[in-house]
Symmetry: C2
Subunit: 230 residues, 2 copies
């Protein structure tokens, strides 16, 4: 990926907003996808994380547009899945396989289940992963699991932690897709990018989340990361 | 723990040998525990990792003694579980609850299952962990999960990687036991020791293993670790 691209970002939460805003700031044409744009814009309450209503955020980011999952996917050259974990497959189904075929999807979500409170558990793990589920459900999508090991603010600005001296991972079956992902990561400021291998290695980064949530408790901040030292 | 102690190390594989040798080198009285010492000493083949027969190793480490799990536990002030994951509970049962009560156990094992080949999966994870299973099975044992995020050589000599500038974790319900664990870790050279919380946080470090095994493949060496940067 050279220059700017048409990018569809699935998810209107803090991750979708943070990544969408950064991609727009970098000059890309960003469309955020949601199930029902009118319903998303009609919300007037902050979400349970304290984020303002989407309409307020969107007014502050006039270059970003809000459309349906299908519209966002149809127009996009590159896709980002920033839904909550259990929302990923339904969002992609709503987008439609024909709108996804051949495109690169950066899956930055985690299959966290908070239904039993904190700490969350994983809704899939050990012998499978959300990244693999997405790849199996949409064989023509070129899925790259990445960025799911850090909080949204650090995803798009790794220099916020230790001057950027830490590690991010990519997992995926398609070398070209991982090259595109790497270019996006580099545009965010990432310098230590480890290719873990095929999409089954998404188990590794998704299963790191239980350590991540405990580290967040221990360090009393989500503003941390890990550096692989060798 | 100040000065030297009587330490029982469960497990005759490379982890038990490496940790046992280091503890003996530090002046502790080390007894390695095994199910059947005569059978362990009778083996003449290298194991499937290429380690020489235990008898050969023991002759090179004359300060270390080999006894049954029960004898090793009865004499010890501090215990280390360095069995393979599925061997932990059987070894502790063989040691006997009465020989364990009130003692600190450093559980440095991982519940890795290689029965389906590489990569291994975890035999317990997500809503439970081996550390918790051990603590539940032996309520009077003071279990601290630690060191399970690095290969044996790095456990006892963190300076082998990046001059020691990386992180190790402790999980456990007993503050005094974690203090003892921390002193042992410091005697090995660890400086960045993160207390993750109670024994349920062992899920975090055990579930890091799927990432560890993929990092080992990607970096082509087990001589690495992670540094938590904040």
């Amino acid at each position: 990926m050279t220059g700017t691209a048409k990018i569809g970002v699935f998810g209107t939460g803090s991750v979708g907003r943070t990544v969408g805003a950064k991609l727009a700031e970098l000059g890309h044409a960003v469309v955020i996808g949601t199930r029902d744009p009118a319903a998303t814009l009609a919300r007037t309450d902050s979400d349970h994380f304290g984020n303002p209503p989407f309409k307020v955020w969107l007014e502050a980011h006039p270059k970003v547009h809000l459309k349906t999952f299908a519209e966002a996917a149809a127009e996009a050259e590159l896709l980002v899945n920033a839904t909550v974990g259990h929302g990923a497959i339904p969002a992609l189904e709503a987008a439609g396989a024909a709108n996804l075929a051949g495109k690169v999807l950066l899956d930055i979500s985690n299959p966290l289940d908070f239904s039993k409170g904190f700490p969350p558990f994983l809704s899939v793990c050990n012998t499978d992963s959300l990244g693999e589920q997405i790849q199996r459900a949409f064989p023509e999508l070129r899925v790259v699991k990445t960025l799911n090991t850090v909080t949204a603010a650090v995803m798009v600005n790794p220099k916020l932690v230790a001057g950027g001296d830490h590690t991010i991972f990519v997992s995926g079956n398609d070398a070209g897709a991982k090259k595109t992902a790497t270019e996006v990561l580099q545009s965010f400021g990432w310098t230590d990018i480890v290719d873990l291998g095929d999409i089954t290695t998404a188990r590794g980064t998704e299963m790191y989340l239980p350590l991540w949530v405990r580290l967040m408790s221990a360090t009393k901040t989500p503003m941390f990361s890990i550096k692989v030292v060798r």
